[in-house]
Amino acid sequence: MGSISVLLVGKVLPYLEQELDKRYNLFRGIDPSQRAAVLRDHAASIRAVVASSSGGPDAALIEALPKLEIVSSFSVGVDRIDLQKCKEKGVRVTNTPDVLTDEVADLTIGLILAVLRRICECDRYVRSGNWKKGDYKLTTKFSGKTLGILGLGRIGAAVAKRAEGFDCSICYYSRNEKPDSKYKYYPSVVELASNCDVLVVACPLTSETHHIINREVINALGPKGVLINIGRGKHVDEPELVSALLEGRLGGAGLDVFEKEPHVPEELFGLENVVLLPHVGSATVETRTAMADLVLDNLEAHFLGKPLLTPLV
């Protein structure tokens, strides 16, 4: 398979890049000028694209690759990929569901505790020597609080399961109510936000869920409410979020994703009621390796004419 040309358009684990290099004729096109050069010379030979949460083929790129057969994404979210275009052109798409569900759910609980119990702030307090001047102030208990989950898919359900260990009440909003679910359903995001203490965004990013967390939802969550975003930055109207936090209309936020990563609104840096992470939801050695293997296995299956392991399209 060393002669099959593959284009890499998103940042991935070094192990994956090395394996792609070994197994295929790999072209790197993460950087726009790199990509332009590759397309100029090799567009006609590229049969596969490897994408990630930091970059994926849009309609223009798909059009520019006449021999494209498959897009394999090193992520579960595929908002960077023009799925409609792929469908039209008969291009297969795979992602990495399930292998990162637990990882993201673990981090979600970690984010909630870090915000409510001010763990990062406490750590700063000790490192700066302030503990010698006096105790840190009281924080907010997590156990027993009401958790609202926006999107009760694999990740949402895994978050709920963990929160039950803390005796939390769980409620959710989803496109459709889930008849088998034991959790309370709210038919709108605003109602969900009004009725929970912590709101977790865990749905896919689509045109319908773009800025699903808007001013109205943020105000409904309120001055004691906490927003946790482990979905995509574009789920949240970021300027609205920033002003709500600065004005005290929202109690706190734990954010693993931002609208324009790696850019983070600087106004957030001075706030003690926010925790800011560099998109590390799935960032463990174990999980990133499993995701990489899934990308490699999907590509191999495709080129050997076998069924794909985790197809989306």
């Binding site: 505790l113 750590d123 000790v126 924080t139 840096f269 463990t284």
Partner: protein, 356 residues
């Protein structure tokens, strides 16, 4: 609030009713402000301006005091207790009692009341938060984001998975059980070491902490500090835990050989540590202050706004019970009495409200 005045080295509230029972408050407990707000109509709180030793020989208020509220940061030693000849009750605002000379209290018939299980959920929440933080590098990542605003890409080291890992709990009392319950929902395998195997619990029991460490990805320390548990996490235990092993301590600083821990963290012999407690609070070994694989919090695992009011209610309830000769709400009972070098030694009870 009533005006405060200094009387004989003690701050106390001016009261029309000087007959309210006096309660000496030692160690500036976090709940003191709330206690004064809620219960100044029932008790006269006396707060020393200076160390108690300097008030010797006794001044009148000290000689008649029958109840003391004490925080975990105040060492209620035998010499201090002897300054209070009428003392009948010590109420500590902590779950731990390692700062109190229980032998002296036992010999004099002074009852001791603790916080019991009041903080167990809060402390367990914090223990899980600290475990996730150190294994997934949450605080380090937050620092990274706040200081790398001009970076073109985010290049941050990967963390370690928590779900499905083997977690060794040292001390399966009230707090340890709450930690276990939470981590089970992460698909973790719970293992434990305790003074005695708990027959009602199905988690695998390990008689030695070294064996527990050898088979665990992380240790969570939830036990009380006493003569048997001091430095229970020592060099051998840390070596058994290994280079990718993690320690979370929400018990007491001296459960760990702190000097050895610092050395092993510097040498990469252990994966990381999340510490809410230290051997000499509020002093923290300076070597830790620049490490990214440690999380350091200022002994605050129990302190949420929700629990402070409940703590005040418990403290006041214990004092009122003592004054009315009724059973205390959360009495700390010694369970074993044995002689050590002809000195009576009392060991804390293994009742559900204890944690060893």
């Amino acid at each position: 609030m009533a005006e405060e005045e200094k009387v004989e080295g003690l701050q106390q509230l001016k009261h029309e009713n000087q007959d309210l029972p006096q309660v000496l408050v030692l160690g500036s407990p976090t709940c003191l402000q709330t206690l004064k707000q809620l219960y100044s109509h029932k008790f006269r709180f006396l707060i020393p301006n200076t160390s108690l030793d300097s008030l010797y020989p006794l001044t009148a208020p000290l000689s008649s005091i029958s109840a003391v509220i004490c925080s975990a940061s105040f060492s209620l030693t035998a010499p201090v207790l002897r300054l209070l000849p009428s003392l009948r009750l010590v109420v500590t605002t902590s779950a731990g009692t390692d700062h109190i000379d229980l032998n002296e209290c036992g010999c004099r018939g002074i009852q001791v009341a603790g916080a019991g299980k009041l903080f167990s959920e809060e402390v367990a929440d914090m223990a899980v938060g600290l475990l996730i933080d150190v294994m997934r590098r949450v605080s380090a990542a937050d620092r990274f984001v706040r200081t790398s605003c001009e970076a073109a890409t985010w290049d941050f080291p990967l963390g370690y998975k928590i779900s499905g890992k083997r977690i060794g709990i040292v001390g399966l009392g009230s707090i340890g059980m709450e930690v276990a319950k939470r981590l089970e929902c992460f698909g973790c395998t719970i293992l434990y070491h305790s003074k005695h195997k708990k027959s009602a619990v199905s988690y695998p029991f390990y008689n030695s902490v070294i064996d527990l460490a050898a088979t665990s990805n992380a240790l969570v320390l939830c036990c009380a500090l006493n003569e048997e548990t001091r430095h229970i996490v020592n060099r051998e235990v840390m070596l058994a835990l290994g280079k990718e092993g993690f320690i979370v301590n929400v018990g007491r600083g001296s459960l760990i050989d702190e000097k050895q821990l610092v050395k092993f963290l510097m040498d990469g012999e252990i994966g990381g540590a999340a510490l809410d407690v230290f051997e000499d609070e509020p002093n923290v070994p300076k070597e830790l202050l620049s490490m990214d694989n440690v999380v350091l919090t200022p002994h605050c695992a129990a302190f949420t706004s929700e629990c402070i009011i409940k703590l005040c209610e418990l403290v006041a309830g214990n004092i009122e019970a003592s004054l009315s000769d009724k059973p205390l709400i959360t009495q700390f009972r010694p369970s074993r009495v044995f002689y050590s070098s002809a000195r009576l030694v009392l060991v804390p009870s293994c009742s559900p409200s204890s944690f060893w």
